[in-house]
């Protein structure tokens, strides 16, 4: 045992003191650590923590505004809303480690939630982010059942767009979808936040500003478990305004049914004012699939479909008009006095122009052909001669006056313009001279000339109105004035056409349907239906002959029909892709015209309360 004061004792004492010193410093360190924590909490940034605590207590919940309805001219519903749920993510208290499970439960790609959060960085943090609209029943159950685990998720009531089933009028109405990143950078969508639902196509896109409402919001108090305990304030949502269209649902329905199983388009309009009565494009797509969020598989199927269902053929298909172009060639010939009513040609099944033989669609020929018979029988040889006499520039002048080869200005997005060739056009686009031989093909609606169905409908309507072309539109002008007080209706375009010449053309069109012409399938007993068939080649005759059975090489079928003969109230154009012959498109137009005429009878009964007088057929050849 060491005696006190010995070196061993001193050593032990030093060691003990050192241990105590270490303990003291350790205590001091811990104390300073805690003091620094308290300092940070209580002195340095108490406001920050106070604000965070307050945010946990108070929540802003959006009130989504319902979109306006889309109605037909009689107020019948084309697009409505139905009650559904959206889920929002509170950005003030979300836990990044929850996102993968949330994405899985909501059937969303994880990357998408991440990208949404990234995009919403510029939004005020208290504003919750809509991460999915139109939840399914399963997704609602998932959110509700995991409320205690994921308090950052909140269900809110919203309205989901309801469109007619089976793609009815899908190209006309369009669809809605969540605003994309690219769109957010456009001034048109600048006022929207990520996750907002906007119009993407058709009327939904064109009149998005009218149909969209203004979202409101609710400020609520929540408890520590995220449960709502009271409401501090409400800013009501402002619903979007409904739009009444010029579309007549009866005609639209007849056209939709007539186009079932076919590829093509139908446009029906009132040439007296430009109101579009029906607009169909097939194949179509189901816009309801876009109403929430389109599934990747559905989208892939749509864009990889060789028939291009997203293409609105009524305003975007730029195709050779075939024989439906002939009346415009005749008009140019008559107006420029290259031909007169008595101009007659002998058709022996073909003719040679500039060293090349051009065939007629009737191999045996039509014999002696006048203007009236030329239109009725759609004789190619007759129109080769008329075209050759008139020249490409005169043809182009009258075709362009009628609106062919230029956008009609219809109130739908992404309209195409087609092509009306001329010497200037060829020089401008190809820096080449126009050869007279090219005019021969253009004279029968082949060659470089391409039109859209809406152009053809407008062009015929204007000619049959004596040279007055009204801009086609889908919202009535009186409705537009209510929706946009600064709106000015566009005056009709006028190009002087001799009424005598117009009457000669109309007479030929009447004969097409009623005098054993090519369009007899469009005949409606008791009514003077005008018509014109068109069969436009999509491949050279040689190639078509070699592969005659292949569907893709069949001719496109066109038909134009109008009624009544004098001052027509309705013009209908049908495009039946690969329909082979224009006569097969005629029954499509007949169904639409019949729906119009039958409805007119119902209207007259209702208005006059007496049966309408039976229409009297006009005497053949009579002109106004």
């Amino acid at each position: 045992m060491a005696t006190p004061g010995s070196p061993l004792d001193r050593e032990k004492s030093k060691l003990a003191q050192a241990r105590i010193a270490v303990l003291q410093y350790l205590c001091l360190g811990v104390f300073l650590y805690l003091v620094s924590g308290f300092w940070q909490l209580q002195v340095q940034s108490p406001d920050l923590y106070m604000e965070q605590a307050e945010r946990n207590r108070v929540k802003w919940l959006p009130l989504l505004a319902p979109r306006g309805k889309i109605l037909d001219r009689d107020g019948r519903l084309l697009a409505d809303n139905h009650s559904t749920f959206s889920v929002i993510l509170s950005r003030t208290n979300y836990d990044p480690s929850h996102l993968r499970v949330i994405a899985d439960g909501l059937n969303l790609p994880y990357e998408e939630i991440e990208s949404r959060l990234r995009r919403s960085r510029n939004m005020p943090e208290y504003e919750a982010l809509v991460i999915k609209n139109g939840l399914t029943q399963a997704e609602v159950a998932f959110v509700e059942a995991h409320h205690s685990e994921f308090p950052e998720l909140e269900l809110i009531r919203s309205q989901r767009r309801l469109y007619p089933a089976d793609g009815f009028a899908s190209h006309l109405i369009g669809y809605v979808g969540e605003v994309s990143e690219a769109e957010l950078n456009q001034p048109e969508f600048a006022m929207y936040e990520p996750g907002a639902v906007v119009g993407k196509a058709g009327i939904e896109r064109q009149y998005n500003d009218i149909l969209s409402g203004v979202d409101g919001r609710r400020q609520v108090v929540v408890d520590s478990r995220g449960k709502e305990r009271g409401v501090i304030g409400i800013k009501d949502a402002k619903p979007g305004r409904s739009i009444r269209l010029t579309i007549d649902l009866d005609l639209q329905t007849a056209a939709e049914l007539a186009m079932e199983g076919k590829n093509g388009a139908v446009v029906a309009l009132d040439p007296r004012n430009g109101e579009v009565l029906a607009l169909v494009s097939t194949p179509n797509y189901d816009p309801n699939k876009f109403a929430g969020r389109i599934r990747a598989a559905d989208w892939k199927e749509l864009i990889s479909n060789p028939d291009h269902p997203l293409l609105n053929r009524a305003i975007q298909a730029q195709l050779a008009p075939g024989s439906t172009f002939k009346p415009f060639v005749a008009l140019a010939g008559l107006e420029s006095e290259a031909i007169d009513e008595n101009f007659t040609v002998h058709c022996g099944g073909g003719a040679t122009f500039y060293g090349r033989y051009f065939k007629c669609h009737v191999k045996s020929g039509h014999g002696a052909v006048s203007l009236h018979r030329g239109i009725a029988q759609s004789c190619d040889v007759y129109f080769y001669n008329v075209g050759n006499r008139t020249g490409i520039d005169k043809i182009a002048e009258y075709a362009e006056a009628a609106g062919l080869g230029r956008r009609t200005g219809i109130d739908l997005p992404h309209e195409e313009e087609g092509t009306m060739p001329s010497t200037k056009w060829k020089l401008r686009n190809f820096r080449q001279k126009w050869y007279a031989g090219e005019t021969i093909s253009v004279a029968i609606g082949q060659g470089a000339v391409t039109v859209t169905p809406i152009q053809l409908a407008v062009a015929y309507g204007g000619v049959l109105q004596g040279g007055v072309w009204n801009k086609p539109h889908l919202v009535p002008y009186d409705e537009m004035l209510e929706l946009r007080p600064a709106f000015h209706a566009e005056a009709p375009r006028v190009y002087p056409i001799s009424l005598v010449n117009e009457g000669k053309i109309a007479s030929g069109l009447w004969a097409v349907v009623n005098e054993g012409g090519t369009g007899v399938r469009a005949r409606i007993p008791g009514y003077d239906v005008l018509g014109k068939t068109g069969s436009a080649q999509v491949a050279s005759a040689e190639l078509a002959k070699a592969r005659k059975t292949e569907k893709e090489l069949k001719d496109n079928a066109w038909f134009m029909g109008a009624v009544p003969r004098d001052n027509p109230e309705i013009v209908v154009v049908a495009l039946f892709e690969r329909g082979e012959h224009g006569m097969l498109a005629a029954p499509i137009v007949r169904d639409v015209l019949k729906a119009y005429l039958d409805k007119k009878i119902r209207r007259q009964w209702t208005e006059r309360q007496e049966p309408p007088a039976a229409p009297q057929p006009v005497v053949v050849g009579a002109v106004r």
Partner: protein, 367 residues
């Protein structure tokens, strides 16, 4: 230093305790765990004690009821009476044992028949918070229990595991006001969400007013909440009445939530089919005449004939859908194929069956 510590021992102990608490608090915050450490340790420490107390209580209660009380009675009664009482006691004891064995047998049978992989657990306590309905089970992470899994009994679902400790777990019962379960109605197969109300009955949300729901109809889990496997009994409809947006439906949970003893923890859930629908009701003997048709727009086509409701329930439609259906019917009635027709063929008559509105009496000229 020692003298200092010895002199202020109480103060030192207090300071050390406070420091320890603060350090643990700091660690808790920085480690960002969902469950408080103190709670984990507390529950881990208390669970064996609770189990011992529970067992002890059973033992003492058993001793008291089975022996002490009888011994007192033996002193006051005849030998015969004593024998009878003892036999009665034995009988009772055997019955209790049989009851427990039956319960476990039912549980074992259910466990064998259910496709999900389950684990038998006993309820060892209930939560102290009056606002929440929770129970503690005697199985924890050591037995393979994970947070978020379902807890069931043969009578119906019980709840979901909210937190897991090494030897026990905490279950949020379906009657808790923050509980929700994705469910499906037995007859109409309409989906909805069952929500706890904090009392013994639950609520069924999101069932459209158009759906026919009546008391006694069973409600099964739909599996859509991703917690409870599909096809388990959730409850029975007690009351149903039309509400503002959806029906107000009250459910009686299937499981006896206030008398839980043994439960099954679904370690690995497997969805199963719903039991077959109830047999169809017999055709009524007497029917009221059909109501008169409502006045319609004179421009509208002839009204379509009355049809039975769609078997898949309510489907929202636009006017376009209805009109298309009507036009299709008109075409079919006339043998007309839309968009087709030979030369000379008769065009369709879309006014077929349409009757003009009755002529109004002419206005009398004013004198």
């Amino acid at each position: 230093m020692e003298t200092f510590l010895a002199r202020y021992r109480n103060l030192t102990v207090l300071a050390v305790a406070i420091f320890t608490q603060l350090i643990l608090l700091g660690y808790q915050i920085r480690s960002d765990r969902d469950v408080r450490l103190i709670r984990i340790w507390g529950v881990t420490a208390i669970t064996p004690v609770a189990r011992v107390v529970h067992g002890g209580h059973e033992l003492v209660a058993g001793l008291w009821s089975n022996y002490v009380w009888l011994r007192g009675a033996q002193r006051q009664n005849t030998q015969l009476r004593a024998d009878l009482d003892r036999l009665k006691l034995e009988n009772q004891s055997l019955r209790n044992a049989l009851g427990a064995a039956d319960r476990l047998k039912v549980l074992a049978a259910y466990q064998q028949n259910t496709p999900s992989q389950t684990l038998v657990a006993s309820v060892i306590g209930t939560g102290a918070n009056p606002n929440s309905r929770v129970v503690f089970l005697d199985k924890g992470s050591g037995s393979g229990v994970q947070p978020g899994v379902a807890v069931i009994t043969p009578d119906g679902i019980v709840g979901k595991v909210q937190a897991v400790f090494p030897t026990s777990s905490l279950v949020l019962v379906i009657s808790d006001s923050s509980s929700a379960v994705g469910v499906i109605l037995e007859k109409s197969r309409v989906h909805g969400v069952m929500k706890g109300t904090g009392v013994s009955e639950a609520r069924l949300d999101y069932i459209p007013n158009e759906e026919k729901v009546g008391p006694g109809e069973k409600v099964y889990t739909s599996g859509e909440d991703r917690i409870y496997p599909k096809g388990l009994l959730a409850g029975v409809v007690a009351r149903a009445q039309p509400g503002r947006d959806f029906q107000d439906i009250t459910l009686q949970p299937g499981a006896r939530l206030n008398r839980l003893e043994e439960v099954l923890v679904v370690v690995q859930g497997v969805h199963q089919d719903l039991p077959d629908k109830m047999p169809r009701a017999q055709a009524p003997a007497v029917l009221l005449p059909s109501p008169p048709p409502e006045a319609s727009n004179p421009l509208e086509l002839a009204p379509e004939p009355q049809r039975p409701a769609a078997p898949d329930g309510y489907t929202p439609q636009t006017d376009a859908d209805k009109l298309k259906k009507r036009y299709r019917e008109l075409g079919a009635m006339q043998g007309h194929t839309f968009g087709e027709g030979l030369p000379g063929s008769k065009p369709p008559d879309f006014n077929l069956g349409w009757t003009p509105p009755a002529k109004r009496p002419e206005a009398q000229p004013k004198p």
